[in-house]
């Protein structure tokens, strides 16, 4: 089955369940989630190895995006450096899974793979905890650049201390086989998909239960106003450090899974651009939303592999141009989506659901005319830009 048919059916079925008039309101969300879960359970039968591998990568990025969303979306702290936490988790797993003598105090034999996933998360979480304190003093762009410094520095450190990390050649590990009894019935792609999807599901459930509890409400209160939160008796510092720790833990778990999925870890595996793209993913998907993390991760994986191809299929677009500059198409799609859906895909979804079936139809049918309006506005502003020069204001500014 084509991935587009798969995702299209999934969205249609889940959305229908969400808006099912026959269902009492409080069951609709559960029904929508169940339908989606059913699709993901069926995926190994419906999709080929390549698409399953892509979905495994999506599952891993879902975990990172969820963690970053807790920090940035719910708690309002911007991090551009989550790639660093992913790498810490990934290298922790790689070193522990590697059967070479790396560190004196660790047994030379490889650990069971599931313990390395926990270890990756814990180590990254510990680092997140330590960094959470200095982060208390920084705000906005200062915090963003400081976290960016972290991800810029890490590859140099990995290359430098190559006794531990294998240096620029990286570490090659043997991937864990399927659990006993299932070796024959599961291909490796299927097994790794089930593993990553399961972990992602567990991490999403944990996130959901944290976010609907007192800590989650504290995150949002601190984001909205630290002073008001403090007045309500919330320990602002502790809340912010908690967000950093949990967020880094998520990235670490995802990193360890990445090592297991790839079978190799090199200093180039998570670069600055990937790290910054996590932010793109949660903004495109939707800030402060679990659904947003999922959609963002899908975009992160499918945009580079299929974005240009899908655009080339549109009328009036030369396939040649798309092949020549695939990055231009990707960049353009990000800009267009960010401008059309300021609250991300999840925001649009919630608006659609709030509008109900009737409103949804109205919204969808009015799309063409609204797009035309938008185009007219842009044309007007362009004409304006030609006709009026910005410096004509300089004089009047002085006169004032």
């Amino acid at each position: 089955m084509s991935i587009w048919l798969f995702l299209g059916l999934l969205a249609a079925a889940s959305l229908s369940a969400r808006m099912m008039p026959a269902l009492p309101g409080r069951y609709r969300v559960a029904a929508a989630v169940l339908v989606a879960v059913a699709f993901f359970v069926m995926a190994p039968w419906l999709l080929d190895g390549y698409r399953l591998f892509q979905l495994s990568r999506v599952a891993i990025w879902v975990i990172v995006a969820m963690g970053l969303n807790i920090l940035t979306g719910y708690n309002g702290q911007i991090s551009l450096g989550h790639g660093a936490f992913v790498m810490i988790g990934a290298y922790t797993a790689a070193i522990l899974l590697d059967n070479h003598e790396q560190v004196g105090f660790v047994d030379a034999s490889p650990w069971p793979f599931w313990t390395t996933i926990i270890a990756g998360g814990v180590l990254a979480g510990a680092l997140g905890f330590l960094l959470g304190f200095p982060a208390l003093r920084l705000t906005g762009p200062y915090l963003a650049i400081a976290t960016l410094a972290l991800v810029i520095s890490l590859p140099s450190m990995v290359r430098k201390y190559d006794g531990l990390t294998g240096g620029s050649q990286g570490l090659i590990i043997s991937q864990p086989p399927p659990p006993p009894g299932l070796e024959d019935s599961l291909s490796r792609d299927e097994w790794l998909y089930i593993l990553t999807a399961l972990v992602a599901a567990v991490m999403l459930i944990i996130a959901w239960s944290i976010l609907r509890g007192p800590l989650g409400r504290a995150f949002v209160a601190v984001r909205e106003s630290e002073v008001a939160a403090a007045a309500m008796g919330i320990n602002v510092a502790r809340t912010k450090v908690a967000a950093f720790t949990i967020s880094a833990f998520y990235a670490g778990v995802a990193g360890a899974l990445l090592t297991v999925l790839l079978g190799v870890m090199t200093p180039e595996s998570v670069d600055i651009v990937t790290s910054i793209n996590f932010l793109t993913a949660i903004v495109i998907g939707g800030l402060a939303s679990i659904l947003g993390a999922i959609i963002g991760a899908l975009v992160l994986v499918l945009l580079p592999s299929d974005g240009p191809g899908v655009v080339a299929w549109l009328p009036l677009i030369s396939e040649d141009a798309v092949n020549q500059a695939p990055g231009a198409i990707q960049g353009l799609l990000v800009i267009v989506v960010a401008l059309l859906l300021p609250y991300g895909a999840a925001g649009a979804y919630h608006r659609l659901v709030r509008a109900g079936p009737a409103g949804a139809v109205a919204t969808l049918t009015s799309l063409p005319s609204r797009a035309r309006e938008r185009a007219l506005t842009i044309r007007e502003t362009l004409t304006w830009a030609w006709q009026e020069t910005p410096w004509s204001h300089t004089r009047s500014g002085r006169d004032r």
Binding site: I152, I272, G327, G331
Partner: protein
Amino acid sequence: MTTTLLTPAPWDDWQLFGEQVISGLATGSVYALVALAVVLIYRSTDVVNFAQGEMAMLVTFSMWSLTLAGFPAWTVLFIGIALGFALGGFIERTIIRPAENSPHLTVVVVTLGLFVFLNSIATWIWAQGELPKVFPTPFGFDSVNLGVARVTTHSIGISAVALAIMAGLYLLFNRTSLGLAMRATAQNPHAARLMGINVGRMLMLGWALASAVGALAGMLVAPVTFLYPAFMLSVLLYAFAAAVLGGLDSPPGAIIGGFAVGVAENLFGTYTPDDILGPEMKLPLTLLLLVIVLLIKPSGLLGRSQVRRV
């Protein structure tokens, strides 16, 4: 891991020390110049623009095509500044303005999309044939002997331009009503609008000016690093560090931050033991220094500390 420490370079070699400091200042002047563009856009629109480097790259490549057509270096420099100005204003008006009422991070993501877009466009147009390309300098590459070390006339030219722009920006923001209007717009657009300031035009002007300074920086960096579509990326990252170190809203801070980053990097690379730190770790060490400074002064060396609104 070995326990023997290779001895770092001796401190009493003043000739080497002088050369490291001066070469650090020369590199730092490049960071300072780009950092000024970062400060300019932050100060006038309250946004950190990730596409800053790629906008400069696009202008520099266009100007490279002009030099092929035989235009002299100085002419190209001024056409490039004008093109950068126009490009900045155009981008603000077409894709940044529509995100005006969106969450702050949406604008950041739009600049990230723009980054990918411009990089790919440049690859498409200019990457056929040999890369990197040579870009001319208007200052020449003659060697100037400063006693302990030699620098090129190009490096001196960059420093002079950076200082001149810093002075210009300082005057603009602190001595003109236009600068006052721009600052007011960045700080509180709604209040500024009530005061009768044309907010849209101020934002557009801020982008245009920042893009012009960025384009100038790109055209002065390219003769040293050579010209290829990614040539501004690491410079921009250094410039971010420099701007943050000096304070994101302070033009003199950008200059001091740029020089400090350049010199610190060279000294870390030269005077730390090779087998545990050394040149491979000079970037992490410099960034560590940045973070330490930020912990002591959260808004940079010369930045104005932020007042928390209730």
